[in-house]
């Protein structure tokens, strides 16, 4: 297993802590002029999403976590697992509800998303920043109302509900920013 020294700590580095894969968010070097040096680190546990502080003695070595982000195509949901495929190799991965939690309401078959693998197993699925999805349910559009800025809820084909302008009709395809859940534009 590869290890990192605290000298190599920087944001984005993936390490193994108490058996869980974590990513370093911030690294602060602390050293009294005449004393022991430490690295105070803010880390996110990639399994739980929780952010913690940890303090390491400088020069301590820490195991690296074999965590890689891979672009995969979402294939289908079988009622229990969500299935993804690496397009180049056709290698497939099945992810459970916990892993797809953040992404599930944006996942449309054939779309690409980022799957984080830890020791070859899916750990997290992140949706693309922007998705284009069809509206399956919303109040009838108010023709020509492009100026008032009013909004109404609209249900998308994946199940997500977003706020859209009043002129948008059922059956239209819209572009949504998945990071905020905000409507971006109509797609023709």
């Amino acid at each position: 297993m590869a290890t990192y020294s605290t000298n190599e700590f920087k944001s984005g580095l993936k390490i193994l802590l108490d058996g869980d894969p974590c990513v370093i968010l911030e690294n602060e070097f602390v050293k009294p002029g005449k004393g022991q040096a430490f690295n105070r680190v803010r880390i996110r546990n990639l399994k739980t999403g929780r952010v913690n502080e940890k303090t390491f003695k400088s020069n301590e070595s820490v195991e690296s976590a074999d965590v890689v982000d891979t672009d995969m195509q979402y294939l289908y949901y079988d009622g229990e697992f969500w299935h993804f495929m690496v397009p180049d190799t056709f290698e497939q991965h099945a992810a459970d509800a916990k892993v797809v939690e953040e992404a599930r309401e944006w996942l449309k078959e054939q779309d690409f998303c980022q799957v984080t693998l830890w020791n070859g197993q899916p750990l997290l699925v992140a949706p693309p920043n922007f998705v284009e999805l069809k509206i399956v349910e919303t109040d009838p559009g108010v023709r020509g109302d492009t100026a008032t800025g009013g909004q109404k809820p609209a249900k998308l084909e994946t199940g997500a509900v977003v706020r859209v302008p009043l002129f948008i009709e059922e059956g239209e395809v819209i572009r949504v920013d998945t990071r905020t859940g905000a409507y971006v534009s109509r797609v023709k």
């Binding site: 602390v30 009294p32 002029g33 004393g35 040096a37 913690n52 390491f56 020069n59």
Partner: protein, 330 residues
């Protein structure tokens, strides 16, 4: 390593500090010289490259060697040893601005090469020297200071801000206070009680000080004496002080140890601890010991991190912002 985006082809050649900050730096250097000239101290220069080096457990001296063999030595971590040789030779009150080097120290407030302002007063003790550091601060950093300097003993500061007595607390009690303060150690193994005290000072005590008010912490535990004399008592205390300002450690001073035998014993202890930890054991400065055996006058000395002083006055968050070319683009 280029730090600015889009500079993948052209090496990053521009200074990290703004020209405005470099002008502030120059102004502070000029005012520092005027301060010491007006007080009659002698400005001295001592070597950066020496045959011997510091033995301190927590200082990493950089070794320097000519690639073809021949000359080799160590870059100093502070000008303390040769300045003490000058004191022993009767130089009187002396000061200097020294570029020093400490390997493996890199962070928001650390650059491996930095500027120390160091001076010695013959016949003075720690309280008198604290007064003079305070006077220098008022001249150089008046605008950044909102309240007169505060003085607190190491023990009182810990009792107030860390919630334990640094003279008596065991390792478990210190680790517990750290944990309660949100400082979670990855492993306690390999850490000595002194290391835990250092961490508590940096994470629990120091952040509690008013960043705009100079705070002097004095009377350190004997185990933290470094090169300070130890005053006998129950418990014995090191006549050492540190100055905190801007949320940082800014200066470290000693009522200097003058006993050559005691100094030699401390060097030996340092080297034993370095060997235990598998660290390099640089050669002991025999010329310093000879000077001390000849007679180092009773004196107090202090070293102040000049770059950090510039940080405070420039309102800079990172040491890189006050250096023309910090490590990485040096």
């Amino acid at each position: 390593m280029p730090t600015s985006p889009g500079s993948s082809k052209v090496p990053d050649w521009r200074p990290a500090a703004s020209l405005q900050t470099l002008r502030l730096r120059a102004d502070l250097l000029a005012r520092t010289r005027a301060f010491f000239a007006a007080r009659g101290l002698l400005e001295v220069e001592t070597p950066q490259l020496s045959a011997a080096a510091a033995t301190d457990l927590h200082l990493e001296s950089l070794a320097a060697a000519a690639p073809g063999g021949g000359l080799s030595g160590w870059l100093h971590t502070s000008p303390e040893f040769p300045m003490k040789r000058l004191l022993a030779a009767g130089a009187g009150d002396i000061w200097q601005l020294a570029r020093v080097f400490r390997g493996a120290e890199r962070g928001r407030r650390h650059n491996p090469e930095f500027t120390l302002l160091e001076w010695y007063r013959v016949g003075w003790d720690a309280p008198a020297l604290m007064d003079e550091v305070d006077a220098l601060l008022r001249v150089l950093a008046g605008d950044a200071i909102t309240a007169p300097a505060r003085r607190t003993s190491y023990r009182a500061a810990f009792l107030e801000h860390a919630g334990f007595d640094p003279c008596t607390a065991g390792e478990g009690e210190i680790a517990g206070a750290l944990e309660r303060g949100g400082v979670s150690l990855s492993a306690q193994a390999g850490l000595r009680r002194d290391d835990l005290l250092d961490l508590a000072l940096a994470t629990l005590v120091e952040p509690a000080f008013d960043p705009r008010r100079p705070t002097f912490v004095y009377d350190f535990p004997a185990s933290h004496a470094a090169l300070a004399r130890i005053r006998p008592g129950e418990p014995p205390l090191a006549e050492r002080f540190e100055l905190f300002l801007g949320g940082m450690e800014l200066a470290n001073g000693f009522h200097e140890l003058t006993d050559a035998d005691e100094q030699a014993a401390r060097f030996r202890t340092d080297l034993e601890r370095r060997r235990e930890r598998g660290l390099a054991a640089p050669p002991v400065d025999a010329r310093l010991l000879a000077a001390m055996a000849h007679g180092l006058p009773d004196c107090a000395g202090v070293a102040l991190g000049f770059d950090r002083l510039v940080m405070i006055l420039a309102g800079a968050e990172r040491i890189d912002d006050v250096l023309a070319f910090p490590w990485g683009i040096a």
